[in-house]
């Protein structure tokens, strides 16, 4: 979890704390200056000083604090869309992750969605996990959000990483259908169905306002499918082309 300035101050040594003070002051100064105005004579590749500190945060404050420090820098700089886009596009995986984890704390509205969409196309599971936070819960449209959930299941990112999962999945019949089809495909291939799939399916089968509706599950996957062989044997009715589960599954 991201730590507050106060929590960091309590944990950082003197040199790291002093470095963080200077870095945050530089970021705040940049926030006061005209954002992203081209500097006369500057190389198009030159960077504001605080963005260089953004890269060095882990070495200065410890890798375990890198996300928190980078997030504080983005907030202090009141980072704009061009700034977060640059830091994301030219960032290491860790730098990208910190951008994704902070988007909901910046005044960006839905404009930074292309960064989330980029991360959700990635195969790096650290980026996928960071992309399904509060900003995605607020702004991803239903189709993209459902695919984000499926991506987590595919790449074994724990669905606990998905912000407001229960709220957004609740009563989502289309999501339930997709999960059922996914389970059928896995079963047909003789592969196990991820445990987390049942968690999401449980949410999707709840009615928008009420408790779970027995038997209302689209897709035909057993509603309370237990772990183990039973889950693998679930036969999805809307996928008639799928072969019957094999003995091995």
């Amino acid at each position: 979890m991201l730590k507050s300035r106060e929590e960091l101050d309590a944990e950082l040594g003197g040199a790291a704390r002093a470095w963080l003070d200077e870095a945050l002051a530089e970021a705040a100064h940049d926030a006061e200056a005209a954002h992203d105005a081209p500097r006369p004579g500057a190389s198009p590749y030159a960077s504001p000083p605080w963005e260089l500190r953004y890269a060095a945060a882990g070495r200065r404050c410890g890798p375990e604090h890198a996300d928190s420090v980078r997030s504080l820098l983005l907030v202090a700089a009141r980072a704009t869309l061009p700034s977060v886009t640059r830091l994301y596009e030219q960032g290491t995986a860790a730098e990208r992750r910190a951008v994704l984890l902070t988007l909901h704390r910046l005044d960006l509205g839905p404009t930074a969605l292309p960064l989330v969409e980029d991360a959700l196309r990635a195969n790096d599971t650290r980026l996928v996990a960071a992309a399904v936070g509060p900003y995605a819960a607020d702004h991803l449209d239903p189709h993209a959000w459902r695919h984000a959930v499926l991506k987590c299941l595919f790449t074994e990112v724990p669905v606990a990483a998905i912000a407001r999962l229960g709220e957004r999945a609740r009563g989502d019949a289309e999501l339930a259908r997709m999960l059922g089809d996914f389970a059928a495909e896995r079963t047909a291939a003789g592969r196990t169905v991820p445990e987390d799939l049942r968690t999401v399916l449980g949410h999707a089968r709840r009615t928008p306002t009420g408790p779970t509706t027995p038997g209302a599950a689209p897709g035909g996957v057993a509603r309370t499918a237990p772990a183990g062989a039973d889950a693998h044997r679930a036969t999805p009715t809307p996928a008639p082309a799928a072969p019957a589960p094999t003995e091995e599954s």
Partner: protein, 282 residues
């Protein structure tokens, strides 16, 4: 046996190589940025490549239990192409990143004035960012190129112990050792060096500041050459400790001067052993 391959171009290699390297004892590597075989036409092409060396490739390596670091630079060949030289302006941003343990590969290809400029400028960048430098010595006119490289290093603000002179052989090892720089040897199936010649060099010149790499890339090369040198050393009578010095402690000491080596990568998940990268769409 633990092995650190201090020069290998994993972008050009498959996940089978990662698995075989892990099984051979490779636990850490450094991937220097270099020429792709196909000329780049803009700085943006370099940035995509640098980003891959800082993002995707370390992730790929970590899935096979290998710590991945990189060196970044404008390479000697493309230092001659004015479409590419603006990369020098963007390097300060990249050289601040975790995972960058040196400036490199820099050095000479054809020994042109443009290469002189890029080499000197990037040695200064290394000094500015407290990073070592990985210096490629030219394939053609190697000994003259080595002397000219050492002259430029002497004129720079980078101390010789922060410089690794790479692709050395019997004709260049003496001058490289006398310079105070680290000495790197690339072991190839056909060219450069082979493991038996490498053992002979170690017998003649000792194991101090000697570094061995596979330099495996998109050409005919072998990512397990580091292990083969280790085996040849043992067969020739070197001790396990000698092997550990050349194949692990020396590269760790050289790149460790960056203060950025992180060697604690978890062992690969047995569930994924032999499996492909999780693709999200497979």
């Amino acid at each position: 046996m633990r092995i650190f391959d201090p020069h290998i171009h994993m972008t050009s290699r498959t996940t089978d190589d990662y698995r075989a390297m892990y099984e051979a004892g490779v636990r850490a590597l450094v991937e220097p940025s270099f020429w792709l075989g196909q000329p780049r036409t803009s700085p943006a092409s370099f940035f995509d490549y640098f980003d891959a060396l800082l993002g995707w490739e370390p992730f790929r390596a970590s899935q096979y239990g290998i710590a991945h670091h990189c060196t970044l630079a404008l390479n000697p060949k493309e230092a001659n192409d004015p479409r590419c030289t603006p990369v020098l302006d963007a390097l300060p941003r990249y050289l601040e990143k975790d995972g960058v343990v040196a400036v490199g590969e820099i050095g000479y290809d054809s020994m042109t004035p443009a290469e002189d400029h890029a080499l000197a400028a990037q040695l200064q960048l290394a000094a500015d960012h407290q990073l070592p430098a990985l210096v490629h010595t030219p394939h053609r006119d190697k000994l003259a190129g080595l002397h000219r490289t050492i002259d430029v290093v002497r004129e720079s603000n980078l101390p010789p112990e922060f410089v690794l002179l790479d692709h050395l052989n019997e004709t260049t090892v003496e001058a490289a050792a006398d310079s105070g720089c680290w000495a790197g040897f690339s072991i190839y199936p056909d060219t450069k060096m082979d493991e038996d010649r490498m053992v002979a060099i170690l017998q003649n010149h000792g194991t101090e500041k000697m570094i061995v790499n596979s330099a495996a890339d998109w050409g005919r090369s072998d990512p397990l050459k580091t292990r083969k040198v280790a085996d040849a050393m043992l067969k020739a009578g070197f001790t396990e400790d000698d092997v550990d010095q050349v194949l692990w402690r020396n590269p760790v000491a050289f790149y460790g001067q960056s203060g950025r080596l992180q060697l604690d990568v978890a062992a690969p998940d047995p569930l994924h052993e032999g499996n492909s990268i999780l693709r999200g769409g497979e």
